[in-house]
């Protein structure tokens, strides 16, 4: 049984941050949770979906983030506590609704939006800092500093949301979301929920209940009042705390995972008696009294936070507007250059910042350690670039795309977005993808490019999207192209899964988050109904896939759709054995000679192929090879043999 449903209050469980948030939501008695998958947020809904039936809650993978948030708001309007989860990019998608929801207010039941930011953009296209959304749209914001807090805050935030009648935001980061720690469990509520939309909220003022953002100035005013009430709650919240001497030489103000980095740094420097740490858990509105009390402790203040200077700027703004200090302290942080205003931080960076400010010399290890470690690593771990899995249909698709574009010869190119197929910006996909922004952006960009013929633009444009991305973000752009007769080919890489985030089902898979079979939204029927010419290809049939692309590119008159359909290899291989045994006929392989020049191991680059330096021939790595057999079709000498198993 998954640990998040363990009904043993007071016991400890080892949970990742996202599981702790899910458990917090269960302890808060949620009835509804919705999300679109996105690293590092995916496990929140993934975990809740697994226990949904047991816990009597409803959990869904929504088609995209705005629908997820709207659906969750719907539940709140009907009195069911609801949670929506997404990554930082997802908030952009949801923002239009979010801005209006803040004005309309939520329903009877609490509504929490969990956002997992991805400092350093480890699994993202950008590293935007979502905390500013709270300040921008007037939403109460908290951020957990450890796993226990992740659970406690989630639960606490539902009460706050309900009490204030506004959506509340919980921001987490990758190192909280995906790291694992002890979490002491609380009570799981035993409640029966009855959902209903209350037609009349106030019997003394019997107007129909309406969730509307107008009149906006009035509602804006009231939202500020709610924020002030949130601030009062925040002043006494258990999530803000100070550790250190009463009057330290340096005060660190921090939040989230940086709280742990700061603790480590101070301990490593053995400065517990000189440096104090104010850890904030409630970030917006600022807990002003907490700040007032603690900022006075030191003359030097260092802000340690990921990614942007949110607390730094907010605190400086606060100090400027409320001169409660007899003398302004010196502020250190991103503005002063002591802490990076980009990327993830780590204890070393905090050590460096503290040492710099306090003029200490700290050398944790010999200077040559880094270079030695690097050369040791290189001797044991081969250099590898990001690549598609062996057997991945995308490799075959981009091979066909590359060849089709080269054969076509008009300088065509690919616009893309994010997903596994983003790796085609690199050698894995033969450097084919030339634009990458948000989900679906490639299709929108292709819309523009496809209308430039009057300016002499003659290059074919292929827009690639994943299957999940197609449903999420490409449909309006396709409609726009059909409406405005833009010339491009939409290539849907249909691997029947939201593969990059962990194979979550989507509207095309016939499966729900809770494991129930459901309607399949047929992408080809949809595209055809919109009026596009549609072809379905098997990317492993390189010849016909290439020919189809060439044919579609040669056609004018609005968007064409090519669906490259083959199941994600990681999904397929869980169900059945490899279709082929693949080996290299050492006699036939001509290696580096004229006529091949190592096409398979130099250009095609499937990790299942290895170059044997000694023999000067290619080989198959049987451990890695997925047995897809595509390399047999690209070998110019017929030296790679595939035998049906």
């Amino acid at each position: 049984m998954p640990t998040i449903t363990t009904d043993a209050p007071g016991t400890n469980q080892l949970l990742i941050g996202n599981e702790a948030i899910a458990r917090g939501a269960l302890e808060a008695g949620i009835g509804f949770a919705a999300a679109y998958p996105g690293t590092p947020s995916s496990e929140i809904i993934g975990t809740l979906a697994q226990v949904a039936k047991d816990m009597g809650i409803y959990v869904e993978w929504s088609v995209n983030e705005i629908v997820a948030l709207e659906a969750a708001a719907g539940a709140s309007f009907a009195g069911i506590r609801a949670l929506a989860a997404m990554k930082q990019n997802g908030v952009n998608v949801a923002c239009d609704f979010l801005a209006n929801l803040v004005m309309s207010g939520i329903g009877r039941a609490g509504l929490v939006l969990v956002v997992c930011d991805d400092p350093s953009a480890i699994s993202s296209s950008n590293e935007q800092d979502t905390r500013y959304v709270a300040k921008w749209l007037d939403i109460p914001l908290v951020e957990p500093g450890d796993f226990q807090e992740a659970k406690e805050m989630t639960k606490w935030l539902f009460d706050l949301s309900e009490e204030l009648g506004t959506i509340c935001l919980l921001r987490s980061v990758t190192r909280i979301a995906h790291a694992r720690g002890n979490v002491k469990l609380g009570e799981l509520p035993k409640i029966t929920r009855k959902a209903y939309f209350d037609q009349i909220q106030d019997i003394r003022n019997p107007m129909p209940t309406k969730y509307i953002p107008v009149p906006s100035p009035v509602r804006h005013f009231f939202q500020h009042a709610r924020l002030n009430r949130a601030r009062e709650k925040f002043e006494s919240a258990p999530f803000n705390r100070y550790v250190g001497p009463p009057s330290p030489d340096l005060l660190i103000v921090t939040c989230g995972s940086c709280w742990l980095y700061s603790l480590d740094a101070v301990r490593a420097l053995q400065l517990e008696d000189r440096v104090g740490i104010l850890k904030l858990g409630t970030l917006w509105p600022l807990p002003e009294k907490v700040l007032e009390e603690n900022l006075a402790r030191a003359r030097k203040i260092l802000f340690v936070e990921e990614i942007d200077p949110f607390i730094e700027q907010s605190v400086m703004e606060f100090v400027a507007g409320a001169p409660f200090l007899d003398r302004l302290p010196v502020f250190y942080g991103k503005r002063s250059g002591h802490v990076n205003a980009y990327g993830e931080l780590n204890p070393d960076m905090v050590i460096k910042a503290i040492s710099n400010i306090l003029e200490l010399t700290y050398q944790p290890r010999p200077l040559e350690y880094t270079s030695e470690a690097e050369s040791f690593r290189k001797s044991h771990v081969p250099e590898r670039s990001m690549t598609f899995c062996p057997g991945c249909p995308h490799r075959a698709t981009f091979w066909a795309i590359k060849n089709a574009l080269k054969l076509d010869g008009r300088g065509g190119f690919v616009t893309g977005d994010i997903g596994c197929y983003s790796m085609a910006i690199g050698p894995a996909g033969f450097l084919q993808v030339r634009t990458m922004h948000c989900m679906g952006a490639g299709v929108g960009i292709a819309n523009g490019l496809g209308k430039l013929d009057q300016f002499g633009f003659e290059q074919p444009v292929l827009a690639v999207v994943g299957d999940s991305t197609f449903y999420h973000a490409a449909i309006p752009a396709l409609i726009n192209g059909i409406y405005n007769r833009s010339n491009f080919v939409l290539v849907i890489l249909d691997n029947s899964a939201t593969a990059m985030t962990g194979f979550q089902p989507h509207p095309g898979t016939g499966m729900t988050a809770m494991g129930e079979s459901t309607n399949v939204v047929s992408m080809e029927a949809l595209c055809q109904a919109l009026g596009a010419r549609v072809q379905v290809c098997d990317p492993f049939d390189l010849k016909s896939a290439t020919a189809t692309l060439l044919e579609m590119m040669a056609e004018d008159g609005g968007p064409k759709v090519v669906i490259m359909r083959r199941e994600c290899e990681l999904v397929r291989s869980k169900k059945e054995a490899a279709p082929y045994k693949v080996y290299v006929d050492q006699e036939k392989c001509i290696g580096e000679c004229c006529g091949c020049d190592r096409l398979c191991t130099r250009v095609f680059l499937c990790p299942g192929l290895i170059w044997d330096r000694k023999s000067g021939k290619a080989k198959i790595d049987d451990v890695i090879c997925a047995g897809c057999g595509v390399c047999a079709d690209i070998c110019p000498r017929g030296a790679i043999i595939k035998e049906a198993r």
Binding site: K402, L407, C594, G595, I634
Partner: protein, 374 residues
């Protein structure tokens, strides 16, 4: 023969991007990098080889020394005669009336090939087949019927040797013997291969017979096909012909009669590369075949090599062909036309190089060159 330390990039810089490429297909379809597609050589990926790249080596528009080639193929120095090395020049036609009926002129090529296949002198023939859109495609014929399907001149440049390269990969270890029907530029590439056998291709010694075609120019395949599609119903086209001067016509024979286009209209579709070609009669073939101008239903045949001669003897002995003497006026006219092509090409090459002594790809001693331009 010179061996180059050159790469595909050099081939592009020196030949393809300078309009010297004849689309013969010698660089195409062998490796996974260069391939013919709709009238161009497409580069699918970067090959890193900078040494002995065979795409460069066997291109008929990278350096060739005619004398060296002649010594390798005919065991005699290059003569610089208008028709090249020739044992005999005759007029001939197929003895088979059925072949003659479907042939461009006298059906000699079809007859030679059928004979070679039937007598098991070769196992297959690489030649040109015309597709539905009238563009030419390399085709490997294994039976007389296959050969019959390919009768008639196409007039569009065909990457015939793309077909050789592909066939080559499939029969690398086999002993399949091949005949090739080729235009002068293609024959030149095969001659290069004969003088220095390629690696990882079909053993060039297995190419037992090279039938060369007379050629004055070729048309750019896809551009001409698109033009043709607008001019006629492609399905009705039976054959093309360029009647001898002073007709100045390009004739399209269709089911509903002949359509004649002024030659000037066709010239815009000619391969620019053809202006730099000095060879009208496929001088390095075993046997060259063309029209016998003004004598309907007959071919002019140039017997060149020992092998060609031997085969021709058998064909005549077994009465597969009817042979006649080529009227001397015809011979003189043919020689004059061949010489005109050489002179024009030398002028164009000199103009292109901007240097009197620089004939770009063509290696020819001043003495031999003197014979041409005197």
């Amino acid at each position: 023969m010179i061996v180059y330390t050159k790469s595909w990039q050099d081939l592009f810089a020196e030949v393809i991007e300078t309009a010297l490429c004849t689309l013969c297909g010698a660089c195409s379809g062998f490796c996974p990098y260069l391939t013919y597609y709709r009238g161009r050589i497409a580069v699918l990926d970067n090959c890193t080889r900078t040494n002995e790249a065979q795409c460069y080596q066997y291109c008929p528009r990278t350096y060739i020394d005619l004398d060296t080639l002649s010594r390798a193929i005919f065991l005699s120095p290059y003569s610089a005669e208008p028709l090249g090395h020739a044992k005999a020049v005759v007029m001939a036609r197929s003895a088979d009336t059925k072949v003659r009926a479907g042939a461009q002129y006298g059906g000699v090529v079809t007859t030679i090939l059928s004979f070679a296949l039937q007598k098991r002198l070769v196992d297959a023939v690489l030649l040109v087949r015309t597709l539905w859109d009238k563009t030419p495609q390399p085709f490997v014929a294994r039976t007389t019927d296959d050969v019959m399907q390919c009768m008639g001149s196409n007039y569009m440049a065909c990457p015939l040797l793309h077909g050789y390269n592909q066939f080559s990969k499939e029969h690398i270890s086999g002993d399949c013997r091949l005949a090739i029907v080729a235009t002068p530029c293609q024959v030149l590439s095969v001659a290069k291969m004969k003088s220095r056998p390629p690696q990882n291709k079909l053993n060039i010694a297995n190419v037992k017979l090279v039938i060369g075609l007379f050629c004055t120019w070729a048309l750019i395949p896809d551009r001409f096909s698109s033009f043709l599609r607008k001019a006629v119903n492609l399905a009705d086209v039976i054959k093309f012909d360029v009647p001898p001067p002073p007709a100045n016509r390009f004739d399209i024979y269709t089911k509903s009669g002949r359509i004649s286009l002024p030659l000037e209209q066709i010239r815009e579709f000619t391969m620019p590369a053809c202006a730099y070609c000095t060879d009208m009669t496929s001088e390095f073939a075993d046997i060259s075949v063309g029209a016998a101008e003004g004598i309907e239903g007959w071919n002019t045949v140039v017997i060149r090599s020992e092998a060609g001669d031997e085969l021709w003897q058998r064909l005549t002995t077994e009465k597969k062909v009817e042979v006649g003497e080529l009227p001397s006026s015809n011979l003189e006219h043919l020689q004059a036309a061949a010489m005109l092509k050489k002179k024009r090409a030398i002028t164009e090459l000199t103009r292109k190089s901007g240097d009197q002594g620089n004939l770009l790809y063509l290696g020819l001693s001043p003495e031999l060159l003197g014979k041409w331009v005197a």
